[in-house]
């Protein structure tokens, strides 16, 4: 009896906290949506029109039909997907080596790779900018893709290594005894079994690439190459109070792809994150 009353009080507090926390996390996005659906007249009516009386999709139409925004989105998609792919090409063999091959000083190597993740991109961007300029690689999307890759590859290597550690060693040992090379084991045993890990690492890399700001901000001078994070920043700088509803719509358009990708693959990403977070 006492325990059940205690539980019920606990539940009440839990619900109270959940509501407050939910409002805190959801309010900015709810508000953004509310602004984006308003006409210019309703913008000035504050929360009294949380659900606009006169909702309109015009703001979204304006953004989505602007060739500039379509290009920003396409550029972001291209850069983040390409960097996700390159990231896997680079990280998968390394993760295999760290998980399976005998090597000296594995611990320090792994820590060294992780240490890169601790360095702010801002630190490396100065020399990188000069060096890309001298190699004539400014305004070059493949070059920028490689920089994106460098920024996320340490974390992806760790995630993949953690995942491969979970695959029973007896499987590849059996294949090695049967005469397979490490190359064969990697392609025929480890890669097929790592599919969920590969998928979540890829998505994490793509979402990170989607929000990259500094790298494209510096490496692209042409607007036609700019991805959405830079585009929205520059667009926001040119807006005023009377176009808030359009800016809100533009903002929603820029965050929606990352949110949708995340929602679809939430469980996969979470398990990779948890493994990564706990193991390092």
């Amino acid at each position: 009896m006492r325990a059940s009353t205690q539980n019920r009080i606990g539940d009440a507090f839990s619900y109270l906290f959940m509501i407050v926390a939910f409002v805190f996390f959801a309010w900015p996005l709810v508000w953004l949506l509310s602004l984006a659906l308003r006409t210019r007249k309703e913008i000035y009516l504050g929360v009294s029109r949380l659900i606009p009386h006169d909702p309109t999709l015009d703001n979204f139409m304006a953004i989505l039909s602007s060739p500039k925004f379509a290009l920003y989105l396409w550029n972001a998609l291209k850069l983040s997907t390409m960097s996700g792919i390159v990231c896997l090409i680079v990280a998968l063999p390394a993760a295999y080596a760290f998980s399976r091959l005998p090597m000296k000083g594995k611990g320090p190597w792994l820590m060294g790779i992780l240490a890169f993740q601790m360095i702010s991109p801002l630190v490396i961007m100065i020399p990188l900018y000069r060096y890309m300029a001298s190699l004539n690689l400014l305004d070059n999307q493949p070059a920028a893709t490689l920089v994106y890759t460098a920024l996320v590859v340490p974390m992806v290597t760790w995630i993949l290594k953690g995942f491969m550690d979970g695959i029973p060693k007896s499987l590849d040992e059996a294949a090695l005894i049967d005469g397979a090379t490490h190359f064969g084991v990697f392609f025929r045993v480890i890669l097929p079994l790592s599919k969920p890990g590969i998928a979540s690492a890829f998505i994490i890399a793509v979402i990170t690439g989607w929000s990259q700001f500094l790298v494209p901000f510096l490496l692209f001078t042409k607007e036609s190459l700019t991805p959405i994070a830079v585009g929205i920043f520059q667009y926001a700088g040119t807006q005023n109070d009377s176009s808030m509803q359009v800016l809100a719509a533009a903002c929603l358009v820029s965050v929606a792809p990352a949110i949708i990708a995340f929602l679809l693959l939430q469980r996969l990403i979470l398990s990779a994150m948890t493994a990564g977070a706990v193991k390092g």
Partner: protein, 286 residues
């Protein structure tokens, strides 16, 4: 034969990370700007930069912003994780919704996060916070125009975006606590607050420490969210070290000073990383 497996990784990290980091150290000893190559080497840039009158103010703002964000994210992240774990055990409705909403905030790109919060903090009628306060006949608050408040507004927006990471780490750590400990303490008649202080918190100690270091580094390196929220203003009220470095290099074209500032950031981050490494479970892979 390990080398071929690691070559691509070493190439990418070497060319796009290690080499630039070494360049930063070289540049810090020159008088280079974005417009001209440095022509003399010496310690003068170092000494000038460290003696800059605004540096102290910048470091103070950075300290307040980072410290408050880290404390906020840690406490809120732990609270959400505790409630989510409890909610899952008791099968409360809405647990998954809360978890998902917190995580969604984390996927929002920093630049967009700054713009979104700028709309919320706006003092015009469409400002999402003041009009909410007005509903309860409170406010208005000068979220971004009062220099004493602006820094806390920046912290608030950063906590919104960063809490999910702490939540994930805390959630994983809570799940890893052996339930036997709770059963034993229940038999001993421990109340729930006692269970929290004598079982949960001590068990989470390592996870909290690791999380604090990771989010400190993340917050220290944040500048996209601030550049689109306040641009560092009003005055210098929200100009953190990373934003200051950005401005020195790309607004004043002062490459060598920027390099010195980068080194300060690097030293702080690597110092934290070393502490972090000491708390990681030991062992040569598996």
């Amino acid at each position: 034969m390990v080398a071929p497996w690691l070559m691509p990784l070493i190439f990418i990290l070497g060319a796009f990370y290690l080499y630039p980091v070494m360049e930063v150290f070289r540049l810090a000893f020159t008088n280079a700007t974005l417009l001209k190559v440095g022509d003399s080497y010496g310690l003068s840039t170092f000494i000038d930069t460290l003696g800059r009158p605004e540096l102290l103010q910048i470091l103070f703002v950075t300290f307040v912003f980072t410290g408050a964000s880290v404390v906020g994210q840690q406490i809120l992240g732990l609270a959400v994780a505790l409630v989510v774990v409890r909610g899952e055990q008791r099968r409360l409705i809405g647990t998954t919704i809360l978890r998902t909403t917190a995580l969604v905030a984390w996927v929002v790109p920093g630049i967009a996060g700054g713009i979104i919060w700028k709309m919320l903090f706006n003092e015009a009628p469409f400002g999402g916070l003041n009009s909410l306060l007005r509903l309860f006949s409170m406010g208005p608050v000068q979220w971004l125009s009062d220099p004493h408040i602006a820094i806390w507004s920046a912290v608030l927006s950063n906590v919104w975006r960063g809490t999910a990471f702490s939540m994930v780490v805390m959630y994983a750590a809570l799940k890893a606590i052996n339930p036997v400990l709770y059963e034993a303490s229940a038999i001993d008649g421990a109340r729930s607050w006692q269970r929290f202080f004598y079982v949960t918190l001590p068990q989470l100690r390592a996870a909290i420490l690791i999380n604090m270091i990771l989010i400190t580094i993340q917050t220290l390196n944040t500048f996209d969210a601030i550049i689109s929220l306040t641009g560092g203003g009003p005055g210098r009220a929200t100009e953190v070290l990373s934003l200051y470095t950005f401005n020195v290099i790309f607004r004043n074209y002062d490459l060598s000073v920027g390099a010195v500032l980068s080194i300060i950031m690097l030293v702080i981050s690597l110092g934290l990383a070393i502490i972090y490494a000491r708390f990681l479970p030991k062992g040569e892979g598996r």
